[in-house]
Symmetry: C2
Subunit: 324 residues, 2 copies
């Protein structure tokens, strides 16, 4: 991380399907000031960038003006780091059927360098720059949210691969026979089981296929979420505990395979599911120890992100600004 | 690759369970002269190094003396690149129950820098330095021999991980239910199916569990090898062809998962099995296209090593010498 003393800040943009949250961040990862706009409701990407720059102006002025800002980093879905583009993002009206050169557009408007990467990669860089992975050269970040995202760091660098899209560990196949259908159109992906939606699905399946008692039976099946399952487990509900046991077991199996690839010094977990703490981390560690190749045993740490959930995405996005 | 004009050669040592083959190699990957000793039959590692240096002396003199040699690279089993050690190698009498600082020992005797890596990693570096992966920054090398070895290159660097042992792709789990037992003590590993011994095992299983006709029935089960299976397939034997179809299908599934990790521009296949050519490569490609996440489709090439089998291991070992 090279920090320019003359330019002590970077802008981070967490570009989500609903909201776009901007923050101006200093070298220690402190968010000095934030603002936000709706991501949708703009006819074109030009309108979106214009609305963004208008919202940014007051917070840029607040820290002394654009001359104090080194660069901008964007975390966004379907982002191509190499090209600075968003490509065919199904959830973004102004980018769902085209390739949008978003980094270049912001750079032109603001007059500073802009880089863009996907949200899970941004989270990994954020963790390496400001969080529990500070100083680590080899680690894997897994974000357990609506989906399962990942960012892989090897030799201190994020792995982007030949096309900028590497690190899709949510889509390795964990069940080749009768695997669950996944949003990607295939079957048996890690994400179909170990995302927050996967956990709710596991709970519903267990409730449907058995008549075991459970606090979760008080809810309508469609109201069951991973949070409800963790609350029930916290109250000692056996079925709910088994859902987390199943999920952690599969994550441990997956991590054991990932270790055969890059032998990381740590796995860092982030996202709603990671908040379940030991409930998910204990079965992950147990399963990992059981499944990993003997020479790797005991080498990797299992950590929960230390970044504050609300600001982590903005911090992660901002972190890529330091390295441009 | 930084080449010192004053020192135009490197020494490569392919340290195998039976033979230790030395070669002196120039910058274009031409082996100028070779020699060999038996790996076994030395009481201690000191005796092994002494015998090696004695065998090396005449070929070093042949190229003009040690002052023309930049460094030495060693490809060996159970090698730790970071430490320059061989650790608990089951097939090496002088290193099976201890950690041997082999790089340091050779360096002291010869007065040049020495680096050491495992054979599959050496093959990947050899391919990147002299072979079909020349100029590539992201590729995965799979060696299909007695086992399945691998070397992963990301951002132009070999992936060693936190401990020097990364890239054990032969030991990702491909069958979690009723998987075949593997030499590593676990079940369902890629290596248990897609190594040369795995192919022979698949053939024997198909012969035992069906009464389908096959040329392979003329052999004793224990005499069936992957080579015999490829010869039978070449003659149109349906069962033998199905063995390769099954093997290629699983390799394609595995490569699809590897792509989710590092999105390589190519997979390079090396070793006895790769010599089966289209017989193995066609089902690999077909299965890969069927299994890979849509965004990666059509991006990776599937290549067979261009290095001559007999000298590839020495070349690969020598290649790590240029970068010390």
């Amino acid at each position: 991380m090279v920090v320019n003393q003359q330019k002590p800040y970077v802008i981070g943009l967490d570009l989500g399907g609903t909201n776009s949250v901007f923050g101006i961040v200093d070298q220690r990862g402190e968010i000095k000031v934030t603002t936000a706009i709706k991501t949708q409701g703009h006819k074109t990407v030009e309108d979106y960038v214009k609305a963004s720059v208008e919202a940014l102006q007051p917070i840029i002025d607040h820290v002394g003006g654009i001359e104090y800002i080194k660069a901008m980093g964007i975390g966004a879905p379907n982002a191509n780091f190499y090209k600075g583009t968003i490509e065919y993002a199904p959830n973004l009206a102004w980018a769902h059927d085209c390739i949008v050169p978003l980094a270049e557009m912001f750079s032109k408007e603001l007059g500073i360098p802009v880089a863009l990467t996907n949200d899970a990669n941004a989270a990994a860089i954020g963790e390496m720059t400001y969080g529990v992975a500070r100083g680590m050269k080899n680690f894997i970040m897994l974000t357990l949210g609506t989906g399962v995202g990942s960012g892989v760091v090897v030799n201190g660098q994020l792995v982007y691969g030949c096309d900028g899209f590497a690190g899709e560990l949510g889509h390795v196949i964990m069940r080749r026979e009768n695997g669950r259908s996944c949003g990607c159109g295939r079957r048996g992906c890690l994400e179909a089981y170990c995302s927050a939606t996967g956990v709710a699905r596991t709970a519903r399946e267990m409730l449907e296929t058995t008549d075991r008692p459970s606090l979760l039976r008080e809810l309508k099946p469609e109201d069951i979420t991973s949070l409800e399952v963790s609350i029930a487990a916290g109250k000692g509900d056996e079925l709910a505990k088994e859902v987390y046991e199943f999920t952690g077991n599969m994550l441990g199996e997956a991590c054991a395979d990932f270790t055969a690839f890059s032998s990381p010094e740590a796995f860092v977990f982030f996202g709603g599911m990671a908040k379940a703490g030991d409930l998910i981390m204990e079965p992950i560690k147990r399963s990992y120890d059981k499944n990993v190749l003997p020479i790797f045993k005991g080498k990797a740490q299992f950590l929960i992100s230390s970044l504050d959930g609300a600001s982590a995405a903005v911090l992660g996005a901002s972190a890529i600004g330091w390295d441009i």
